[in-house]
Assembly symmetry: C2
DNA sequence: GTCTATAATTTGATAGAC
DNA sequence: GTCTATCAAATTATAGAC
């Protein structure tokens, strides 16, 4: 029985995400992706014309998955504290499971050498994270200045990205937990 | 007049550092380095046999420069607060000047796809940063548990790396400053 | 120490059969 | 939609003249 066409495309972006999370945009090739999926590199090109197209699609899929997991920041059925724990857990999950970096963290570090279309998608990740966190933080500190809310939101993402980076490099997930303890003080104070 | 041999080697590692800070280990080639320096790629190989050798040398040079700029964390002529400001300034400098990432931050993000010798040099960066910060923090909170000192030291580096990453990607140095404001609370409290 | 020349491999990408 | 076959270019790296 033949797999659906969309299935192959899906497996291609999944393989691209995995490869990029390990070695960045310049750290993978069409042939590696093809081997991962079990097709030939010409088939990868059939689904994604250029490497930039493939990378951009992988980032879009990653960001959508990330934001879907976060859900509505104004959901009255969840407390701000629960939402912040959820946010941190999302970054922690792939680190403790596979010592994996955040896809957008990896690509952000090589932003200067990235295709502009790919770089734009990566910036979307940070923008949507900021907007989601601002909504959550507005609930916990309704009287804070917008600039302060924005600063704390950016700090939360930046801190978690840095914690991921450091823990990933040192191979110590405990580093991530150390940082989370300190981050909690920022978000509550 | 001919430039000294060591001069060419120095200019080669400098070019490699610059290229890697933009695009990571897989984001540069010997020919690009050669063109930057004004020699042929065979001459680059004369000074550094392999790409791994060149990358490792660039990291060692970067780390030595970084630690030299920090100096002695126990220097009685400088207060802990001054030292922490110096530490933050060191990360800020190349960001505001050229929107440049930290070399070891870039390489840490692609650690999984890095040659083991290069990866080891990158880990040295984080280890020496931690040791320096632990010495400084011991002075400002002499009664804190070693685990807490270590946690705060790791958090400081991780937070600054994340701030650099985010600001670099978004092209907004203000993001870095927002994070620094919050970081100050961690290091003082 | 730098060069020319080149080997050996890999890269992103395309043409065209099935 | 997948394949074989291939291209043109780029890659790391080496051999040997000067």
């Amino acid at each position: 029985m033949m797999a659906k066409a969309t299935d192959t495309a899906e497996r291609i972006v999944a393989a691209a995400e995995r490869r990029m999370r390990d070695g960045g945009f310049h750290g993978f090739s069409f042939r590696e992706i093809a081997a991962d999926v079990g097709v030939k590199s010409a088939s990868v090109h059939h689904h994604f014309a250029t490497k930039q197209d493939l990378a951009a699609a992988a980032v879009r899929r990653y960001v959508d998955r990330h934001m879907s997991a976060l859900g509505d920041p104004d959901d009255p059925g969840r407390t701000p504290d629960e939402l912040i724990v959820l946010y941190i857990d999302l970054f922690r999950h792939d680190l403790v499971k596979d010592c994996q970096m955040c896809l957008c963290g990896v690509l952000a570090s090589e932003a200067a050498a990235l295709d502009s279309a790919v770089a734009r998608e990566v910036r979307v990740f940070f923008d949507r994270n900021r907007a989601w966190l601002e909504a959550v933080l507005k609930r916990v500190m309704p009287n804070a200045r917008p600039g302060e809310i924005r600063g704390k939101a950016l700090t939360a993402t930046a801190t978690l990205e840095g914690a991921l980076l450091t823990a990933h490099c040192l191979g110590e997930t405990e580093v991530f937990e150390s940082v989370v303890v300190e981050l909690a003080k920022i978000l509550s104070g």
